[in-house]
């Protein structure tokens, strides 16, 4: 088990390294011009752009730039934009071209917002989706089942950004029933943290729960048809025990897999949610960075996403072995 985890962690690190190389290659071999993007305004001349390119090493071979960047991750470095050199201690993922603040600082400052969003939403969509899915499966073929499946399909076929915008527009602006979305650190003001995130949580939670409802319904239907569920019924167990202890226990395993990956995706930045509700998290930061060709931020957010996905996979696999005794990790 321990050996397995160590091996998986090593491969996870390799995946992240490969991803970082890929991001570098895509950005610098692609149609990007960070020098031009950095030098905005009327006073920007070709010489000025060239000056920036030289100062920040954009003219160096990409491999060298990668080397400098990678060294910074472990040892830290100083970055000189042509003014005062900016100190970027390890782990240094570069300094934002835009606001000239080390990326690590920016992202660690914004991560709590994304984390709060993801956890809060997960607390809504996982139980809610599971509950609705189990209910639909139990009432298979009835109007309850059809109503649940139908409404979940309708809701999830409306693009998420539309749902989010409409919710914001109606609930906050027109009707004023929901508090204005905003992020306040829980450590400063738990009440404001809660009220500010309430609407994003609910929107993200409910919209995501539709997929979970359909998925857990399917998984539940499958396990309700298993022989061991018939055995449980033949033993004279109560319906609640049959459904929860015997059927759901098996049905939840594939749902957990999807949840792990989804949750990793949320941690990597809930782009639409953060953008629509104006919450300054990783997703919104990444989106703005792409617009500004702010490469250090882009690279770091992509790496965060890769790391979370790999980690989530590992955690799900370990959970598998906990839930299903037939699974041995070797």
């Amino acid at each position: 088990m321990l050996g397995y985890i160590i091996r998986r962690l090593i491969s996870a690190v390799l995946v992240v390294i490969m991803t970082s190389m890929l991001v570098f290659a895509l950005f610098f071999y692609g149609p990007s011009n960070p020098g031009q993007a950095l030098c905005s305004g009327v006073r920007c001349t070709a010489e000025r752009v060239e000056q920036i390119n030289v100062a920040l090493g954009f003219n160096d071979p990409v491999v060298d730039q990668y080397g400098t960047w990678a060294k910074g991750v472990f040892a830290g470095r100083t970055v000189d934009f042509g003014g005062a050199p900016i100190d970027c201690p390890a782990p240094c993922f570069g300094v934002s071209y835009q606001d000239r603040i080390p990326v690590t600082e920016t992202l660690s400052e914004r991560f709590p917002a994304t984390l709060s969003l993801a956890i809060g939403a997960a607390f809504i969509f996982f139980p809610l989706g599971l509950l609705l899915g189990v209910l639909a499966a139990r009432k298979r073929g009835t109007s309850i089942d059809r109503g649940l499946v139908g409404s979940s399909l309708i809701l999830s076929s409306i693009p998420y950004y539309l749902v989010g915008l409409m919710a914001y527009l109606y609930l906050v602006i027109f009707w004023g029933v929901a508090p204005q979305p905003d992020y306040n650190p829980i450590t400063e003001n738990p009440w404001k943290w809660w009220t500010g995130l309430l609407l994003p949580w609910v929107v993200l939670g409910i919209w995501n729960s539709t997929a979970y409802a359909r998925f857990s319904r399917g998984s539940m239907l499958e396990s309700l048809g298993e022989d061991y569920v018939r055995t449980a019924r033949a033993k004279g167990l109560t319906e609640r025990k049959i459904v929860v202890k015997h059927a759901l226990r098996a049905a939840i395993v594939p749902v957990l897999t999807i949840f792990g990956l989804d949750f990793a995706g949320l941690l990597a930045g809930t782009v639409f949610t953060e953008y629509i509700f104006g919450i300054n998290g990783i997703g919104r930061t990444a989106l703005l960075a792409i617009n500004n060709q702010d490469f250090p931020i882009i690279a770091a957010t992509v790496l965060i996403a890769a790391a979370f996905v790999v980690l989530a996979n590992l955690i799900v696999d370990i959970l598998y072995s906990v839930v299903d005794p037939r699974v041995r990790l070797t």
Binding site: G141, T142, E226, D227, Y228, R230, T231, A232, R233, A234, K235, G236, L237, T238, E239, K241, H246, R249, A250, V323, D324, P325, R326
Partner: protein, 361 residues
Amino acid sequence: MTSSTQRREDISASRVPGREEPYLVVEDLSVKFPTADGLVQAVSDLSYTVEQGKTLGIVGESGSGKSVSSMAVLGLHDMRRTYMDGSIRVGGTEVVGLDESKLRRLRGADVAMIFQDALAALHPFYKVGSQLSEAYLAHHPSASRRDARAKAIEMLDRVGIPQPDRRIYDYSHQFSGGMRQRAMIAMALVNDPKLLIADEPTTALDVTVQAQILDLLQDLQRDFGSAVIIITHDLGVIAEMADDVLVMYGGRAVEYGTCKQILSQPMMPYTWGLLESVPELDSDPTQRLLPIAGTPPSLLSPPSGCPFHPRCRFRDHVPGDLCVTQLPDLEPPIDSPDRLKRCHIKDTAAVLKTDLVPSEA
């Protein structure tokens, strides 16, 4: 004492002692399932009885309704998608239409079931011991977990699993095929059921293990004195286990009698076919087996008349097209009032003698 045990005693009290009814009485049972393609007539007008201490063998091909009828005894079908008619009385209690909570108290306590393929029938995520304890606790709500575990160990020991005090902590996938079926039997017997339904209990097992399991079932029946229904398509199992035999075809009983009657003097062409298709140990190994031509009937649109007529080789013994137009009654053949057959051939014994026996002589 909790209210649920109280109610359980009420059910027991409703059984009139001394009443001469066998422990299980199935009368005119019909089971139908509505499907997208139409109504499936899984079981039609089925009647049989099983007395305490006796074994009834139900034989038939896949889809003959043998499992469906026995699952109906436990009310295991999804009642929202099943139409049931007729009567099933277990120890005097009517099961058809019984409400779910009363059915639940019957299941696993008075009537227990052993399923085919114990690997699929045991839960993969729970230890074998806890699955046994769970069955015990379901009907002994006042028992402690420790009692239930002791009971689980006792039952595993009883069915011949070595080191039961350790094996209760194993999962079903850590058991061998035969051991799993033993554990399944132990689980079924944990509440001393008065009726045990074994649905193809040995089908997935190799022959030696099969013999062990059958011996075990016989031993246990002797000790517990329960009524047993054994469902199988293996006539060898029937010969070893059954007192009475019910042959089913297309959801109907086609022959019903004692084991000796059915096996030594079968009176229905379908039973002949079943017996003919069994390989004999001392027969010529190069000789081809004799299968029953054709396939089992569709239960969506059963054949007219006798359900077996499209596959029957003996229709020329019946005058006219009676086989195609009219369903034969399940009635005693001439000179044997103590058994039943469903066939238009009047003197089946004669046909058996002229058409089947000489070919072997």
